[in-house]
Structure formats: C-alpha cells, structure tokens
Subunit: 811 residues, 2 copies
C-alpha cells in the first residue's frame, strides 16, 4: 500500500494559477452587486477555483487514470463528480468558439450515447458467439454432425431435414451419436448406451478441466458469476483487472466450456460480468468515462443491464435488474441510456443468433388458459417452497464456500472442479431431465401439453380430441389419469430436483464461471412442475369439489390446470428465494411469458419467496458472497437502525494514538515526508494550530505526495523548508536560516464534509451512502476530534451485527 | 406564518427523561468494552437519546400530525426518517413481549403492504367508476338509450344486438340520437344534423360549466392535471388539502364532466392526482404513514404509480412513470410496493370495468408486419416533429398561463371555461376526428387496416384478396392508391391535427381537471397517421426504389407499411415532446402494443423528440408549471453546474442585519419570546457565546415555542428567568434575583448539518437534494457565518438562470 516518493514532473501551482480566471462565475458575481464583499470571500472563491483546477489538471493532463486510485480502494464520488463538472466547464467555456471546439463539445455531448451503443453492440456480439459455442459444446457430448462437425444437433438436422426421423427421435441421419461413430452402426443396445455414457463423461471432464486450467492460469478473476464483484465495483470500489480485456476473453471462452460440461451452472450470470467487461473496455475509449471513476460506473450500470438483457432476451427486465440489484448510483440519465444499451444488445444478439422464433425471449411461452382463483393457494405454496429452497441454498452455499476458503480444499481448484464434474455427469446421464442442459429442461417444463406433445410429461390416460385437420381448435391440453410415461417422468423430475438442489450448492463458487440463474430456475421449474401435476391430478380426481367446480365446468373433460404455468411460477419463486430479486424478477418473467395476466401468480410467488427467504436467511446469495469476501459494500437498501453516535465510531478510539494531522503553518518538508511515510492513511486533516485543534481543511495523501515531489524538484527547497497551508506565505523567513518557505495552499480541500460528534450514525451512514464521500471528519464546536472512513462505518456495522469487523477488506 | 404562543400542555422533559433508558444501545456499548469512555461521550449518548425521544413523543402522543409542518413548508426528511426509526425501535424493543405487543409488531410490519393494497383497490375502483361515467357522458351528447337511459351507446347496443344495423352505422334501434327523440323519426336530413349539432353544443356547455362551478366553489385544488403539484408534494413540500377527501370527490366528479364536454383534455393526468388523494386518505389510517411526512411520501409514490397504471392499464409503465417523472425519494422497498399497488389497481379496475377485451391496455394493438429498416428515417422524423410540437406547446402554454395569471382573465375562470368549450364544440362537431372523444380517435388511428375495415381511413383503390371463408390468411392490409374516402379522411386528419394543436394550448391550465396525456397522444397519432399514409403512398407510387424494393418484395401487392404503427410512434413522440418522459413512455407504449419488436421505433422517436424538445425549450410541461407557480422544487435530474460557493448564497448577505441566534446560556425567557415573535424563521442556531461565535447546535422554532409554553406553565418561571441550553444548569442562581433558571438542553439538535464557507454550491445542492434537510449552517473554522435554506438555494438557482428569485413560494 505504501507509495514510493519517486519524483514525477508536475507543476501544480502553475496549472492552477494559469487557469484560475477561466471560471465564468465572476460575471455573475459582479452582476449581483456583491463585488463589495469582504476580501475573505474573494479569496475563498479563488481558492476553490484553484482547487478544482488542480483536480481537472489531473484529468486533462492525460495522467494514467488507473493511477487515480489504488487497487481495493474506494472512490470519492463527490470529488469525481466535481472533476467531471469542471472538465465539462472547461470544454464549454467562452463565448466564441472555433470549429474544432464546437466539434469537441458535440463529441462530448454524444459520447455518452456512443459508448452505450458500442457496449450494447459488443455485449450482443459476445452473447451471440457464446450462445452458439455453448449449443455446439452441449451437443458435442452426445455426438457429432458428420461432414459438418461445427454444427450443433439442431442446426445439423435443420440443414438436412428428414421429416420421419425427426418426429421419431429428434434426430437425423447426419447427426450421429458417439456410439454410432465408434461402432459404425445405428442401434439402441446396452453397449451403445455404455459407449455414449463414457463419451459423455469423458468429454464433459475435458471441458471442465480445460475451463478450470484456463481460469487458474490466465484470469483468476474470471471465476464465479461475477455479480457480487460487479455490484461492489459499482458501489465505488476499485478491483483492478476485474473488468479487463483478459478477464473478458477468458470468461467468454470458459463460460461455454463450463456449461458444456453439464455442471449445474449457467452462463447468464457470467454474461453480466462479460457485458460489464465490455463496458469497461469501451469506457476507456472516451476520456469522459475512462478517466472518471464515477462516470465510468454510469456506463457500467448500463453494461450490466445489457448483460441481463442478452442473457434472457429481456431488455426491460435487464434495466430493472441493474437498477434493483446491481447498481448503486443510478440517475435518470443512466436509466435511459441503460435502456438503450440493453435494447441495442438484444437486437444485435438477435441478428447474430436468433433463438429460432420471432421473439427475443429465451423461454417464450404463451398459455391458452387463464389461471383460476383457487390456484393462488398452490402458487403461494410454491413461493414458500422457493423461499425455503433459497434460504437453504444461501446458507449451505455460504457454509461450503467458507469451508473451502478456510480449509486446504481452496488450494486445489482444478481438482475440485474435476471431482464435482465427475460426480455431476455420472449421476446426471441416466436421467433425461439432468442429461439435457438446464435451459432445454426449463423450456420443456414450462410448456403446456398440446395435442402434438409426445413427451413423457404429457402422457395422460385419455383419448385425445382431434377435430379433423384444423388443429387450431383442439383443446390445448389433454387431461386424465397419469399415464405410465408420466409416472416415470414424475420420478425422474423428483430425482432431478433433489440432485440439482444438492449439487448446485457445491458448484456455485468453484473457480470456473458459474452462473446461478439457470440452476435456480431449473430447480424451481422442476419443483413447480411436480406441484402442478399434483394439483392437476387433485382436480381430476375430485372434479366436484366446490373450490374449482364452477371455474372448471367449461373445460369439458379438459384439465383447467396448466402444469407449465406452475413450472414458471416455481422457477420465479426459486430464483427469488436465492437472489431476493423482486420487481426485476417479475418483469423478467413477464417478458418471458408475455402476458400481463400471469403477473399475479408470479408476483404472489415472488413475494412469499422473498418474505420466507428473508425470514430464514437475512441476505440474498450476492450479498452473502460480498460479505463472505469482505468487500466494502455499504448496503443502501437496508436502513441503519442502531442508535450509535459519530463519536462512538470515529478514530482514534480511546487509548489509540492521536490522529495524524497537519498544522497549517510551520511543518517542514521533512516533517511532512515522515508523516506520509509513517502510515498509509488516505489523507490528513489540516488544523489551524495544535493548541486550538480547529479544523481548517483536509489534504489528500496523493496530492500531498505529488506536491512534495514538486517541491523537491525546486533547487531552493531543502528538507528544512517550512510549509504553509495558508493563503499567505512569507516570501522568505529569515529566522529559519536559508530555507525558503513552501506554499501548499493549493492542495487543501477547504470544505471537507464534517459532522458533530453528537451526530447519530444513521445520519453519517446516510451521508456516506448518498454523497459517496470517502471520509467524514468529526468535530466538536469546530475542534477536530476524529475521522470516520467508509471502512470504519462498515466495521462498525459488522460489529453491531455480531460479525468479525476485521474481515472487511482494506480501504 | 406567525404562530401564537397559546399555552399547550406538554411536558417535554419528563417524556424524554422517562424514556431515556429504553434505547437498547447501552447493551452493545457495554459489550464492546467501551464503557470506560470519557464522560463527554456518555453524555453525548444520553443527549441524543433525549432528543430522539422528544421527537418520538411528538409522533406517539397522537398530536395532530398536520400540525407538524405549516402549509407551504418543506419537510425535513432526515428528521422524519429518524422519527420513524425511533418509532420502530420503540415498538420492537425489549426481549419478552406480550401477545398484544407481538400483534402490534406484526401490524406494523404488514401495514406497508396493507396500505398499498387498500390504495390500489381504491384507485382501481375510482378509475372504474370514472371510466363508466365518462363513457356515458360522452355518448349522452349524441343521444340516449331509450328505456335504459343510464347505458352508454356501446352497452345499449350490445344488450340489444342488432346485427344488420350495427354493421351499417355502429348503432341500433334502442339507441336514438337527439334528433330522433325530439323529432320522433329516424333520418339523416339537414335539419336533423342541425338538431344534433345544437344538442351536442348545449350538453357540452352544460357539462363544462357544471364542472367549472363545482371546482370553483368546492375544491379549487381539483383543477389542472395535478401532476406538477403531486411532484412538488413528493419532493417534500406541504400543500394542505391538495390531496384531501374533498379534492378527491370533486375531481372524480368533474373529470368525467370535463371529458364529456369534448374539451381537448383527458382524464389520465387527473387520475394520477385522484390516486394520490386515495393514497393520502388511506395513509391516514396507519399512523406509521399518516403521521410521518417522509413515510407518507413513499405511499404517495406508490399511489401515483397506481394512477398511471389504471389510466392506461399499464402497471409496469405506471411504476416507471412514478420513478422517472413524479417521485423524489424512491427506495427499492417503495419500488416493489408501488408495483404491487399498480397491479392491484389494474386488477380491480378490470373487474369493475373491463375494456371489453382480455387485455388490460387501453389501446391494445397487434401489428402483423415487422417494420423495415428504411422506416427508421420517417420514425426519426416523427420524433423530430414530436419534439417541435412539444417545445412549441410548452412555450405557448406557459405564455398563455402566465398571461392568464397576470391579467384580468384569471378572475373569470368559469367564463373562460365556457368560452373555450363553446369554441371547441362548435368547431369539433363537423369533423368526425374531433367529434368523437380523443381516446376513440386514437384507438382508430393506431389500428391496422384489415379486410373488414370499412372506415374512410382504409378506403384504398384496390380489389381485396379474399381467400374463401377462412379469413385468417387474408393479408392484413389492402393497399393501393388513395380512395375518395381516404382523401376526405386525410383532409379531416390534417384539420383535426391543427385544431387540436391550437385548442390544447388554451385548454390546459383552465380551472377544471385537465389531463394532457390524451390530447398529446391524439395530436401525435393524427400527425403519425398522416405521415404513415404519406410513406405508404410513396412506397406504392415508387415500388422499385432500391431503399425498400427488397424488403417489400414479399408483400405481393400488399403494402409493407403500417400507417397505424406510425400513429403509435407519432403519439409517443408528441407525448415525449410535451412531458420529456423517456423510459416510462417507451415502456407504457410497449405495454400498449405488446410487442418487443416495436420498441425500436418507439425508442428512436422518443429519443429524437426529447433531444429536439430539450434543445428548443429546456423543460417539460410539468417542470414549466412548477416554475410558473413558484413551487420550491429542487430538481434532482439536472446537475448544478455553476461554481458559486456556500459563502455566496448564505444569509445574511453583506449589509443585511446579522443572523438571529441563541446563545447557549444567559438569555431570558423574555429574550427568547421576543426572538420568536420578531420573525418567522424555522429555527435558530445556538452559539456557545456571542464573542466566540462558535456553533453548538440548532433549535427548531416549533420546539422552542412548545418549550416556552411549558416553561410558562411552571409557577416558578418568570419572564426574567435565564435559560440554559447547556447540559448543566445551575439549580438556582442567586445573583439573578428570585427567578429560577430554565433548562432547554433537550430541544437542541447538537448535530446540525454544517458546511464550510468554502464548500462549492454543487456539494451543498447535493446535500439538500440527497439528504433532504431543510437548512445547512455555514461555518468557518467552527465559527458560525450564516445559514442556507432550501429556499435560498432555489432562489440562487433562479438568479443564476436569469429569473426572478422572488417568485419562489415561501418556505
């Protein structure tokens, strides 16, 4: 953390003095007749201008913007926003402008839209490529397209349409399973099954091992879903390289491999991370965004929205996800741009890789029947089950991840991935609901049983009603007792549900890209379908029950229950239980189903799921992982409800050494250098004198270091030169020998945020959360008592909640 | 503004001392081993407890919550939130709870959901009744349903289905025009036309006059759309009675009357106001919301969302409207509850008065054709036109409203309504596109021309292609040259567009409920349909142009352009230009059209509309009216870009008398009473001494008045009694004669928000906007220099923008 005092050329005082007159406010000042103001006020204004110019110089001198903040530091939103305003003023100042200046203003105004357009296009393209690669890898485990090996099963059979074989087996002549290729013949014998099984296991193991090796050696940040980290970064934390090009590349490559290996994970969470990487990469093309950490985060919010948008094909849901779950600072301008970005991404994705239908959405379904009032009971039940599952999953997964972190297991990430993959594929091949990839399973589970459905899920003991060739008026779902196929399917569903429940706990958090959306949705859909079939059979067995008799009487022999809708509701409930999303989840599901009338079941289930989940485990999986990793995330959603005061939290605590401070005049260069070297604090309060302890301002560590470097470069300055943080500085001080005084007034922030020691912590927390500053000074009647940093607040909150405050990452 | 010092019984010191021990923090304090802290810290804590308890006592003693703030004052969000936290702590404190206490906790936890449920149901019911009433009043101008006069035309004819006459004339035997009733026969002669025309004019005049009289005499706040005021209230301003029961009733009654009189206005904006009234009324049932102005505003945000939700049948759009346009403080919890509220309202509305289709939405349309790439050019053009219209409308309407305000016109509101109604109905009857109510017109304009469309709008010179009886495969829109009917329709469209453009300027702002959504949408739809038909004819005339040749080749003789879509896009553009809504507008339109593929045209048009509108007139109509009326609304969306400092804005300005302050010890009761009487300030800074000018705290005016009243009630206190705002107060001071000292430490806020005089105003504005406090104290090294209130900030902004700062309403 300590910074070396290597000399760097930068003359602050010249920059700031030279640009001082540029601030147009003087005009206003004169016009309001306030020019007779005291000298103090005049000076004040000048000083502020100097300070801002000094900041702006940092931005415009094309300093490496990465050097602005250290890794794992928190950004100062107030300072960044003020830098941006100054940058904007500098571009637009003056009345007469050259053509070039006008172009620059236009470029500046457009760059916000341009950058989100580029991000949207990049995110859409990435998602399209990942989609195609994933599909291919998934089917590669089953077999290969002879003569066109780069095609997945669907494309292979679509190109060589073979109507008869397709209906029979979803397969075609060109597509051959591994048994056929290796054995040279076509069959369904036990040995073929064994060959296919073996090929499946081996290929899956290869995929996951490759993914783990790539992640470990090239981009360790590419692991996990990335959403907790993106959330932390958006809240103002710096994790260098987390959104870099290398992470983008490796995550894009390994995510399809991980999904292809049939592990219980998805590529949707990682897509949010990938889109955020795109956002970061493109933000660097525009200095307005690349060199300002606060503005960059606006762009990253939009990128996260685009990520969800392309993951599911739901632009509005994506924006709301970004708003509700991920983002921290989300002004209206960002909302609109996020929407634009999400839409662009969805459109590009559609042109790169359409899902084969005219709709964007991943699991587009339309149900023909409305839901009935009594169904609200099973829907609420599904919500409760989803909440139970979510709470259980969060607790179990956090326990397992903590165990991994603290035990030797954490040292063998590749081995862990291999073992989990082996267990997963060995157990998942026999059951069709786990052998297929999770998206396909979900898609099958949420569909209605139509007259042309031939799967086990729709095997009811009933004569189907065909009305001639015109199939549009055939009742949507045949109903009746359970057929043998459906009985088998129910067993398989139950086993798949149990298996997915357990294996996902061990999968999420491994050192490969692991998304959580799809596994959660899959667990929920399995659960929902089982409940749905149960309700359907209940209604079929007791058709005269008054609860549903009147509602179902019009369905003449048909079921009035849609098990597919239950799967959809269950999926929402499970995902809600795990992530505690609310509005965005309902909107995503609404966009997927495309019918407003199904919002009520979805909302009911989501509400119950959130209530039950919150009651049993206080936090969602993302917040849990943020806490587990000790990221300094100041939760905005939860209110601070304790009654502590600023004085209780501030440093120094009683017994600790006094605060490191600067006195406004008299300290020598040597003193200051020793001060900087002796600690790693981010800044130092400036006092008027040690006696009065009156607060005068605040100096940032970085500014001080640069100022000291500059002073060193001047020949007349020695180590004994006294420094003056005041406006007036004696030209030469004879009694101090031959050392010339150094004026450092320019680097003082004269208006640090300060609170009284009596201020309740709830106010202080609000100041941190809403203004986004890094530290607050604590004073008592103008005397400095201490300082509270964001980290102190987080430690304090951890302490109050009975956790170890020392695990919060350094700030 | 001045408050009388009437005595009121309330013993603050007892309340606060009695409840001091209840704060559970002491336990934590002891557990962290910090109990050895200095005495100062101990005192601090106690002091804070006392202060909060004092606040809580206000809330829990069932004071009239209206007395908390004066009319036209701004609320202190920080204080309200802290009051709410204390209330919550007081309910949940203690380990062992009685059954009653548990019930109370549960009730408290549920009340948030309960209140939004009730509001949703109330808003839905109101909207349903208003819908039905409006429909009836609209058709009443045309005729009456014989034998069932309370039915509107549609219901009348639906009940007495008469297939032949219906296709012919959209009419039936039971429904009779006024000419038929008065003349006793059925006909289409010139005299009948005159009779119908006259009846139409007379009835419309009656409706609008009745509405104006009701509004003027019973609820003056029921006029206008109400959205600017709701926005101001949500930002923390108090306008007493604006959301009261009386306003709710009168606005609900007069809104259908105003729409029924065929004025160019809608009932959608007023529905937002009506829903907010419902919100306010129901909030009073729950002390948690009714007695806390900040919490009440959370509920009002949800109510506003419900208002838009029921106005158009778009729950998600409603929530986003509330988020984007209306609300100020919108935490995630509110988002989720708003969604619930909006959905409840939409469902209740649907059961009260379904639109006749299975869909919620007001203008539900589905188009059969995708849009083509080259169409983005006319869509962008529509956006530009919408922006031009919007900017022109805002400027013209604000000019007219300012004129009304400053001239004698403002004194004759009823006469104004009558004159405008007369002009409107006289001019609108001859043209079918203005004779019908605007919703019907919009609905007709956005529809595709199908094979069964018989209106003038679909009169093309082309032989229609019928494919036998199976009509599902008939191409959706016949295309060809303009038929005579269409030529007439084009003229009528153009005239209607011009007429609506002009008359809406004079209508919006009259003293009856005037919504702006529907007129704007109507103007846009008229404009869009004209452009759409133009583009269609262009493509029809030059079918071989390379721009559209390839895209249109599959349409074999059919048009590949959908003029209805242009109407939809134009409607969005015009509404966007007027209100500058962005995301919520697109989402509303998306919910209305129900197809993601049409988002791109809508978004493009909205973007261009906003850009053009913002370039030509900097503000939307709502912000314009807020500014016109001088409401103290601190815009959060716009950044403060000036470079002034806190010292430039604070009071006292140079030359002004010094600040009214309190010195912490030595002032007599008489001094304080004189201080309170001499001004209407909201509070007074407390200084340690007049010499040092060091800031010690802040006392609210209201608290001081109550404390003085209490002191008066004690026999030993005289006017000469000295007061002590310090912790320690001498028991009796002999040198002061026989007057006992009064301790007023409990009412001091020891941690007022203070900034340095060097603080840039951008930071101060951010503090006001984000923390929501009422005033900021300005200090220089701990010495009090001045005070900045929200009003000072608003005045300062007005000054910087070259406006009259004195028009901001008192605060």
């Amino acid at each position: 953390m300590g910074e070396s005092l290597t000399p760097r050329k930068r003359n602050i005082s010249f920059t700031s003095l030279g640009k001082e007159e540029t601030i147009p406010l003087h005009n206003f000042w004169a016009s309001t007749g306030y020019s007779a103001g005291t000298k103090k006020l005049q000076l004040t204004r000048r000083q502020s201008g100097a300070r801002l110019n000094e900041n702006a110089a940092e931005g415009l001198e094309e300093l490496d913007e990465l050097a602005n903040y250290e890794d794992f530091h928190t950004i100062d939103w107030l300072r960044e926003m003020s830098r941006n305003r100054l940058r904007h003023r500098q571009i637009t100042q003056g009345l007469r402008k050259t053509f070039l200046q006008k172009i620059r203003i236009l470029h500046d105004a457009c760059s916000g839209w341009l950058v989100v357009l580029l991000i949207g296009m990049a995110a859409g393209t990435c998602a399209g490529i990942i989609d195609i690669a994933t599909k291919w890898l998934i089917t590669l485990k089953m077999g290969v397209c002879t003569n066109k090996f780069w095609l997945d099963q669907e494309s292979c059979c679509w190109l060589h349409e073979d109507q008869n074989s397709k209906i029979d087996n979803d397969s075609c002549a060109e597509w051959r399973s591994w048994a056929e290729i290796l054995g040279g013949h076509r069959g369904h014998g036990a040995s073929d099954y064994a060959v296919n099984y073996t090929a499946y296991v081996i290929i899956a193991m290869m995929f996951s091992t490759l993914a783990a090796v790539l992640v470990k050696n090239f981009a360790p940040y590419a692991c996990g879903s990335g959403i907790p980290e993106v959330k932390t970064i958006l809240s103002g934390f710096i994790i260098r390289g987390y959104l870099g090009k290398w992470t983008l590349l490796i995550k894009s490559v390994t995510s399809p491999l991980a999904v292809g290996s049939n592990l219980s994970l998805g590529k949707e969470g990682p897509l949010v991370h990938i889109a955020s990487c795109c956002g970061n990469v493109f933000a660097h093309l525009f200095p307005k965004y690349g060199q300002n950490e606060a503005k960059k985060r606006e762009v990253l919010s939009a990128a996260a929205a685009a990520g969800v948008s392309v993951a599911f094909g739901v632009p509005i849901g994506g924006v709301l996800f970004s708003l509700e779950e991920v983002s921290y600072y989300f002004p209206m301008k960002t909302l609109w741009r996020s929407f634009f970005c999400a839409l662009t991404a969805a459109f590009v994705l559609r042109s790169v890789n359409p899902y084969g239908t005219a709709h964007f959405a991943m699991f587009y379904v339309t149900y023909n029947r409305p839901w009935l009032l009594f169904e609200l009971v099973p829907f609420a039940l599904l919500g409760v089950m989803g909440g139970l599952y979510g709470a259980g999953f969060v607790r179990a997964n956090l326990f397992w991840c903590r165990f991994r972190k603290n035990s030797k297991l954490g040292k063998f990430p590749i081995l862990e991935v291999m073992v989990i993959t082996l267990i997963t594929v060995l157990l998942s091949y026999p059951n069709p609901f786990t052998r297929m990839d999770a998206s396909t399973v979900i898609n099958e589970l949420v569909q209605e049983c139509g007259p042309t459905s031939h799967t086990n899920l729709c095997d009811y003991n009933v004569t189907r009603h065909y009305h001639g060739l015109n199939t549009t008026f055939v009742p949507a779902s045949p109903s009746g007792g359970l057929g043998d196929g459906l009985k088998t399917a129910l067993w398989q569903l139950a086993l798949a549900f149990l298996f997915k429940c357990i294996i996902t706990v061990f999968t999420f958090g491994m050192k490969i890209p692991t998304g959580l959306f799809i596994p959660s949705l899959a667990v929920g859909a399995l659960m929902g379908r089982i409940v749905g079939i149960g309700v359907e059979q209940l209604v079929y067995t007791f058709p005269d029950n008054p609860m549903w008799k009147t509602d179902c009487q019009f369905s003449n022999g048909q079921s009035c229950i849609t098990p597919g809708l239950y799967a959809m509701v269950g999926a929402a409930a499970a995902l809600g239980g795990v992530t505690r999303m609310t509005v965005s989840l309902v909107v995503v599901m609404y966009e997927l189903t495309g019918g407003l009338q199904y919002i009520v079941p979805l909302m009911l289930a989501t509400m119950f799921s959130k209530w039950v989940g919150d009651a049993l485990s206080g936090e969602g999986i993302y917040d849990g992982h943020i806490r587990l990793n000790g990221y300094p995330y100041l939760e905005q959603k939860r209110e601070f409800t304790h009654t502590t005061l600023a004085a209780d939290v501030m440093r120094p605590r009683p017994g600790e050494p006094p605060l490191k401070v600067i006195v406004q005049e008299g300290m020598t260069i040597y003193d200051l250098e020793e001060l900087v070297k002796s600690n790693t604090l981010n800044g130092f309060p400036v006092l008027i004198s040690n006696d009065s302890q009156r607060l005068m301002g605040f100096v940032c560590r970085k500014d001080l270091i640069v100022a000291l470097e500059n002073a060193h470069n001047r020949p007349e300055v020695t180590e004994d030169s006294p420094t003056y943080f005041t406006l007036h500085c004696p030209a030469s001080v004879s009694e101090l020998g031959n050392s010339n005084p150094v004026r450092l007034f320019n680097i003082v922030d004269l208006s640090p945020i300060a609170v009284s020691d009596h201020a309740p912590m709830e106010t202080v927390v609000e100041i941190f959360a809403k203004l986004g500053n890094r530290q607050v000074l604590v004073t008592h009647n103008g005397k400095l008592l201490g300082i509270i940093t964001k980290k102190d607040v987080l430690r304090h909150i951890a302490e109050l909640e009975g956790e170890d405050p020392e695990k919060i990452m350094f700030d």
